[in-house]
């Protein structure tokens, strides 16, 4: 259960609310059941898609919801019990306390805010913030960490757990590597430039490396111009306020990332949320916005901007770009596409969702992405028409007040991008993209066959595996670590309270053996923890599925 202090208040509330309502009706979630083949329907939107768009959001059986609630209820009751015992001194208080001199100040934290952190998150918090001591490649070394007081404090034994298979890091194309040849140019640039820049872009912080990188990004994406920033999160939170302001309308997807929500809030524009990837909801909002104008005054909106992501990292779903673009053209809105997880990870040559759907980058007004995931570096970019980028160069908060990107990191992005584009003379880039595609398909197919409930699109390298019950979160992560596999688990409030999950990030650097090891471990663990909730598992007799097997072997 990462981040229990409900930082993402904005979108959490909606999701949570929706889930609560639906749980009162029959069934767990009103998300559609198995949708295999459903999106190939003959509805008008079907003609916009050049290939089949298959997404799964299966509901679990009813008893799962019941047990999930029971689990949380038990946790809460024990939480109250322990708080009571701590308050009455029957149990040791391990929490840090306020200074004696400041005891009469207004308390910094409300007791209830931390109830969840103290009593539910704390029990299993050894599954997060696990420190590593090697490159975050397909395998890494974990520092062994033990706790003597039930997760209040940790201490390092000094040993490292070697060669743990990494299913948690965002290393889609495998560029997080320490191969000396691969990092040759980065080493040279680091020696030449040093680490810092000590100035902002508009003052003395624009280096020739930044200019080179921006040109390359623009060429890679097929747009006129691009601008790079030092931090991916800050790219959103500092540029959305520059693009929209008061009197504008932001239509944001339900499950947008915190950086998008923060950027939208800081801009001062009105925000309206549409249901996740639901085009009817978006169209209704667009129509109502244009027809009725701003609330109360009914003045026309200055502009309407739609914020979506390429791949949603908690669901693994891909945005329905063709439909959104047709809606945006029809209603004259603008589209801001955050490709943090999809750039490099989808598309025939790794150009992101725009290429995946066979569309042109001109269809999207603002292309944003980060370099952290597929390029093994840090930072973000915004790309589009020259007018847009010129405006950002003069008006972005980041250009004026924040330090520019470290040149060695810029070099890493340059070399990764050149590799991807084939400019370094090899086909390694394309091979990585193909390998990622193969790995993704294989991994997802196998998980479906085993009977787990997996969310998301068949082509997305982000694979959420549903756990549901709070007790299984800790058990799953710990047992996988015992088998030498590092996984990421997430619970409330990053996900709805009944849908805790484990999230796998498939990488091009994973070999078939590694994936098989993970799959076997999952198989065993799935049986042991009763995680195979799916009612639609494909039979495990591959000979009945000749075609799909052929597809994979190419």
């Amino acid at each position: 259960m990462a981040n229990p202090s409900a930082v993402c208040n904005g979108h959490l509330h909606h999701h949570h609310h929706q889930k609560q309502n639906n749980l009162l009706k029959s069934g767990i979630s009103k998300k559609n059941g198995i949708t295999k083949g459903m999106k190939k329907n003959g509805v008008s939107n079907g003609t916009l898609y050049k290939k089949t768009f298959i997404e799964h959001f299966e509901q679990a059986p009813m008893y799962v919801a019941v047990f999930t609630f029971v689990g949380f209820a038990v946790g809460t009751i024990f939480g109250y019990l322990r708080d009571f015992m701590r308050a009455w001194g029957l149990e040791k208080r391990n929490i840090a306390a306020e200074r004696e001199q400041q005891k009469d100040f207004v308390p910094l934290y409300q007791d209830f805010e931390n109830f969840y952190t103290r009593n539910l998150y704390l029990r299993i918090r050894d599954n997060w913030n696990r420190p590593i001591c090697s490159v975050p490649g397909p395998q890494f070394d974990l520092m062994e960490r033990v706790t003597d007081d039930y997760n209040w404090t940790f201490r390092f034994t000094g040993r490292t757990i070697k060669n743990v298979i990494n299913m948690g890091s965002y290393n889609y194309l495998g560029f997080a590597e320490t191969d000396v040849n691969a990092l040759k140019t980065v080493t040279i640039e680091l020696e030449k430039y040093g680490t810092g820049v000590c100035s902002t872009r508009q003052e003395m912080g624009t280096l020739d490396k930044h200019v080179e990188l921006e040109k390359l990004v623009a060429t890679f994406l097929g747009v006129e111009d691009a601008m790079v920033f030092g931090m991916g999160f800050a790219t959103n939170s500092m540029n959305i306020p520059a693009l929209v302001g008061k009197g504008c309308l932001i239509l944001s997807d339900e499950l947008n990332h915190t950086s998008l929500v923060l950027g939208a809030r800081l801009s001062g524009a009105t925000i309206r949320i549409f249901k996740h990837n639901n085009m009817q909801s978006l169209e209704k909002l667009l129509r109502d916005a244009i027809v009725y104008g701003q609330p109360r005054t009914h003045r026309a909106w200055r502009k309407i901007i739609i914020l979506v992501e390429g791949i949603y990292s908690m669901e693994g779903s891909i945005v329905r770009l063709p439909e959104i673009v047709s809606l945006k053209n029809k209603y004259k809105a603008y589209l801001y596409l955050d490709e943090a997880h999809s750039i490099g990870a989808v598309g025939a040559t790794g150009r992101g969702v725009v290429e995946y759907f066979g569309m042109s980058p001109d269809d999207v007004d603002v292309l944003m992405g980060t370099f952290t995931k597929s390029f093994g570096a840090a930072g973000g970019y915004i790309a589009g028409k020259k007018g847009l980028v010129d405006f950002l160069r003069t008006h972005s908060h980041s250009a004026v007040y924040a330090t520019s990107m470290c040149p060695a990191v810029a070099e890493q992005i340059i070399r990764a991008m050149k590799c991807l584009m084939g400019l370094d003379g090899t086909t390694q880039g394309l091979q990585r993209v193909r390998q990622l595609e193969k790995n993704t398909r294989y991994f997802r197919r196998k998980l479906h066959e085993m009977g787990f409930i997996i969310y998301g699109n068949d082509d997305s390298p982000v694979v959420p595996l549903l756990l549901y019950m709070p007790g299984k979160i800790g058990a799953f992560a710990r047992r996988m670590l015992e088998k030498n596999i590092g996984v990421v688990v997430v619970g409330f409030p990053a996900t709805p309270i009944t849908e805790s999950r484990a999230r796998f990030c498939v990488s091009a650097a994973h070999t078939r053996e590694m994936l098989d090891t993970v799959l076997n471990a999952l198989d065993e663990l799935g049986d042991f923890l009763h995680l195979k909730y799916s009612r639609y598992s494909k039979s495990s007799h591959p000979e009945l599925y000749e075609e799909s097997r052929l597809e994979l072997e190419d």
Binding site: A2, L207, D208, A378
Partner: protein, 464 residues
């Protein structure tokens, strides 16, 4: 004996008729359509289509004129070290915040190289999901030890440090007293927190006390609300916009008198003020536990990227779950963290560089006095000064153009300077246009003198 009256009592006729009408009315209401007030003013489909057809949005971005002062950046070829090549010309660098000259330090670079060999470049994940490296933990420990606090937390971007720290503690309904000259990152943090902001005049303790007293009288009217409203004072150690320091001892007195917590932003004063570079608390000799939170970025003195917050565990630990820039963003690349650790080593091993830096600042501060047309804004020991026009020529645009000519004159003669840049429409209290002069330990005395005399010349030729 009671006789039951078996005759059924018939109600009077009008009663029955009225009841019959009532029942019929109810049945009618039940089956008729609900009557919404909106129905009357609802638009037809055709009207809606027309509205949609007619609506024209603004262009996504307004066009930017080609001669916009901020559009054409100075392009630096090579590292922005002591001798910098700007737009093809070699100059002495008076514009990068490389106070301790660690940008080009060999030891720092080799530490970064070693880290690059071991860890690669990126961390590929946020701190919670295998993005915590042993280097990060080491850096946090070292920073906490250096600043003599219990705990430190690092962020991967300097701007995001204070902008995430403030909203983690101050929420809607809380009150924050902030100095007018606070930097933009603080302003964004305050905006994200949605708290009540009260600005007090720059460094004016009387004004702050007035605001605090006003708040006290408000509290007495509503003591229940006052008991749950948190209060904070946010100040900077060394202000970026004005080059002077905050009166910390008075602030501490106010803190205990009015029960307000202090957040101190030390981006410019970390590694500059104080005998060992520990910042303004060391400069004034104040117990560091009196400050609730110290936030600084590592992009100035430490010549790396990122930022950190330090303080007591009670306060800092909270950010590990509710600091947005910490939880939802990838962690700092290990090579930058290793560079910061090495820079800290250097700072600890040679504490005399702070004295050297201070002496150089004093020297140039004195040398820049008396330039006709330009006045020096900033403390004598501040390594980041501003040169403002003594008399404005009417509009900000013209002032900016005039200063640009001064800067260009200096650049052509081998001294790299820059104007201080602001977002004019977004700042709460926009500082006047100025030239930023940055002093580093690497600048020799001749170079300092040369810069001063060049500025005198430039001011003479441009402003007279």
């Amino acid at each position: 004996k009671r006789v039951r009256d078996t005759r059924t009592k018939l109600a009077p006729a009008y009663h029955l008729i009225l009841e019959g009408i009532l029942i019929l009315w109810i049945i009618r209401l039940l089956f008729s359509k609900t009557y919404k007030l909106q129905e009357r003013s609802d638009l037809t489909l055709k009207e809606k289509e027309e509205l949609i057809e007619e609506w024209q949005p603004e262009p996504l971005v307004p066009p930017v004129p080609k001669d916009h002062p901020a559009l054409n950046y100075n392009i630096v070829s090579g590292p922005p070290t002591h001798i910098i090549t700007v737009n093809g010309k070699e100059c002495i660098n008076f514009a990068s915040f490389n106070f301790l000259g660690l940008l080009n330090n060999e030891k720092v670079k080799s530490a970064a190289q070693a880290s690059l060999k071991k860890y690669g470049v990126g961390t590929c994940g946020p701190r919670g999901f295998y993005g915590t490296f042993d280097v990060h933990l080491e850096l946090e420990e070292r920073l906490a030890k250096f600043m003599r606090t219990e705990e430190a937390i690092i962020y991967s971007y300097g701007f995001a440090t204070i902008a995430s720290a403030i909203p983690a503690y101050s929420k809607r309904g809380d009150i924050v007293f902030v100095d007018e000259a606070a930097c933009f990152a603080i302003q964004k943090g305050l905006q994200a927190s949605r708290s009540n902001i009260k600005l007090f005049k720059h460094n004016d303790m009387a004004d702050l006390e007035r605001l605090l007293k006003e708040q006290e009288t408000e509290d007495q009217k509503n003591p229940r609300k006052a008991r749950v409203t948190r209060r904070f004072i946010v100040v900077e150690g060394l202000y970026m916009n004005t080059g002077d320091i905050c009166p910390l001892p008075e602030l501490i007195k106010l803190k205990y008198k009015y029960k307000v917590r202090i957040f101190l932003e030390e981006s410019l004063s970390f590694g500059v003020l104080g005998e060992h570079g520990r910042g303004i608390t060391e400069h004034f000799g104040i117990n560091i536990d009196d400050i609730d939170l110290i936030s600084a970025n590592m992009e100035n003195s430490l010549a790396s990227i990122g930022g950190f917050c330090c303080g007591r565990s009670f306060i800092i630990d909270h950010q590990r779950l509710s600091g947005q820039g910490y939880c939802f963003s990838a962690s700092l690349p290990p090579l930058l963290a290793a560079a910061a650790i090495e820079a800290l080593n250097i700072m600890e091993d040679s504490p005399d560089i702070f004295q050297t830096l201070r002496a150089k600042c004093e020297r140039i501060h004195k040398a820049l006095q008396g330039i006709s047309g330009l006045k020096v804004v900033g403390e004598s020991f501040s390594p980041a000064l501003h040169l403002q026009l003594e008399e404005s020529c009417g509009s900000r645009e013209n002032d900016v153009k005039l200063l640009k000519r001064v800067v260009d004159y200096c650049m052509n003669s081998g001294i790299a300077l820059t104007q201080a840049r602001y977002l004019e429409k977004e700042e709460k209290c926009l500082p006047p246009p100025s030239i930023r002069v940055v002093i580093t330990v690497e600048q020799t005395e001749q170079e300092l003198d040369k810069a001063a005399s060049l500025l005198k010349e430039a001011a003479q030729s441009v402003l007279n």
